[in-house]
């Protein structure tokens, strides 16, 4: 197990009248190479949960294990932060250096890598997010487009050489080109580089198309955990929580209810189209 949470609970401002329990007894684990989608309505505790993955928050009860070792006592926080890269919402707000190179190099510098190693890491991190090293390395991050800035910020985390990348709504606020760029690179990182990815997103179409496993968090508890097909079949429960269901899944479920024989686990336009055409042909026969 890469990440393992055992009965984790967390409360903000404990022992005050303002105390607020954000995570309630969550047990959850992620295997190497998985692509997990973490979804939940606003305030369900997603952002709080991911801060436990790299030791930014310490659980009030329960424990967090990385590679089977307990954060703090058996594995140092710095090592955990190297292994588990966390990309927060609007990560472009963390850029601060005057060149893209220096900003991406911030992480490896903190890890005390040698100069050659730093250059190598920056080069490969920028490549992973699809930015040309020589074109971008000397530019100021503040002159880039929104999508490029975000990719530089993600490269800054990738340069830590993590084995798992956690992203909190990496596509929010981007135009559709910027979104697609980021998502294709994430998919490639998972498939080609074997990087474990945990993706928080509100866009269920995005989630359904990309991930192997969906975890639904609601009011600090894990409500569902399974393949996209299993989870999105609980359409009514999800809608009740204030979550969407992928448009295709919604369509297929409705067609199914009306007696059309269509499979429910399709999330690609062409497949959905073909299956509907097939079902219509069968019916007309």
């Amino acid at each position: 197990m890469l990440i393992e949470l055992k009965n984790v609970s967390f409360t903000y401002m404990p022992d005050t009248p303002l105390a607020q329990q954000a995570i309630k007894n969550v047990g959850f684990s992620v295997r190497t190479g998985e692509f997990v989608g973490l979804v939940g309505p606003t305030g369900s505790g997603k952002s709080t949960l991911i801060q436990h993955f790299n030791g930014l928050l310490e659980p009030l009860a329960g424990e967090v294990l990385i590679d089977g070792r307990r954060i703090g006592s058996e594995i140092s926080a710095l090592l955990v932060r190297q292994k588990i890269g966390v990309v927060f919402q609007f990560p472009e707000n963390q850029l601060f250096e005057d060149t893209v190179f220096k900003d991406v190099a911030f992480g490896p510098c903190n890890l005390k890598c040698s100069d050659e190693e730093i250059e190598e890491r920056v080069r490969s991190a920028l490549k992973m997010v699809g930015l040309d090293y020589f074109e971008f390395k000397d530019r100021s991050p503040f002159t880039l487009s929104g999508g490029e800035m975000r990719r530089v910020a993600i490269a800054g985390v990738l340069a830590m050489n993590p084995s798992c990348l956690v992203l909190d709504e990496p596509t929010s606020g981007l135009d559709s080109i910027g979104k697609r760029e980021i998502l294709t690179h994430l998919e490639r990182l998972n498939k080609e580089h074997g990087l474990t990815i945990i993706l928080i997103s509100h866009d269920m179409n995005e989630i359904a198309r990309m991930v192997d496993r969906v975890v639904v968090l609601n009011e600090g508890k894990i409500e569902f955990d399974g393949s996209p097909k299993e989870v999105f079949l609980k359409r009514d429960d999800l809608l009740k929580m204030g979550l969407d269901v992928p448009e295709y899944a919604s369509l297929l479920i409705k067609l199914n209810e009306r007696g059309f024989d269509v499979p429910l686990d399709l999330f690609e336009l062409n497949e959905v189209k073909d299956s509907i055409v097939c079902a219509l042909e069968r019916r007309s026969r």
Partner: protein, 267 residues
């Protein structure tokens, strides 16, 4: 963040009470009078009068005593320091000795009076902020400063600046927390290391923070202009401050108490 949550001084305590509903201008003016009285009064009898009055006020404001005490926590050290310095280092008639140190009657009296004065000072001021929301406070200050516009004091602009500054404090704290966590996730260490390394890491926090502040300021200015904000000239307000009968009464009672305290305090 945890350190800030323990500080009550300067915080608003949201309940409904006679004092919460009073006109903020009245509260500011009365605070000014009470502070003056605290400096005029020079004996224990006067302070007893004022303390009794403050006790009544706290009860009327429905503020728990634990909040008042927590507000005093940051000044404990200063009070103790004042006490010790006065006890042992004032010339006069000795009343007790601790080894080489001599406590004098004058020192005892001055030290205690000064400490009591200081504690009461903090309590009164925090009573104002406990019972008055920041918005009301700036409204009150603006209204009180309005006559000074004649001598070119930018009353409205000052109040608007204060309102905006107050509004942004929590946002900036949140933002700082967020950026700090992002940089810590990239291996930054804000807590240990030598001075040079720490300063370098601080840059990674300060630059994004400043960029964020300027961006916010820009956006806010744009949002205000697109809603036709052009300064205070001719602007009407949503909450019009009015002195009600109860407010006049509060004012009278307070002044009466203060006059008594001053008489008792100058005996």
């Amino acid at each position: 963040m945890r350190a800030f949550s323990k500080l009550t001084i300067g915080q608003y305590y949201p309940v409904k009470s006679l004092l919460h509903e009073a006109d903020p201008r009245l509260k500011i003016v009365l605070l000014f009078f009470i502070l003056t009285t605290l400096f005029v009064v020079n004996n224990f009898l006067g302070f007893i009068f004022i303390s009794f009055f403050l006790l009544m006020t706290i009860l009327a404001a429905k503020i728990p005593f634990s909040w008042i005490l927590r507000g005093l926590r940051p000044i404990i050290f200063i009070v103790l320091f004042t006490l010790i310095i006065h006890f042992f280092f004032t010339a006069g008639k000795p009343i007790a000795t601790f080894g080489p140190l001599v406590v004098t009657e004058e020192g005892f009296k001055n030290g205690t009076l000064l400490s009591v004065r200081f504690i009461l000072l903090i309590i009164v001021t925090s009573l104002l902020t406990f019972t008055t929301s920041p918005i009301e406070l700036t409204d009150g200050i603006e209204s009180l400063l309005t006559p000074l516009k004649k001598i070119k004091v930018p009353a409205h602009e000052l109040a608007m600046m204060m309102t905006i500054a107050l509004r942004f404090i929590p946002s900036l704290l949140l933002e700082t927390d967020r950026i700090m966590k992002a940089q810590v996730s990239r291996g930054a260490d804000f807590e240990s290391g030598n001075l040079f390394k720490r300063a370098r890491n601080l840059i990674s926090l300060l630059i994004p923070l400043f960029i964020g502040i300027f961006k916010r300021a820009d956006e806010l200015a744009l949002a205000m202009e697109s809603r036709c904000y052009r300064g205070g000239e001719g602007r009407t307000r949503l909450r019009v401050l009015t002195m009600r009968h109860g407010d006049w009464l509060i004012g009278m009672v307070t002044l009466l108490f203060l006059i008594m305290a001053i008489f008792a305090g100058r005996l």
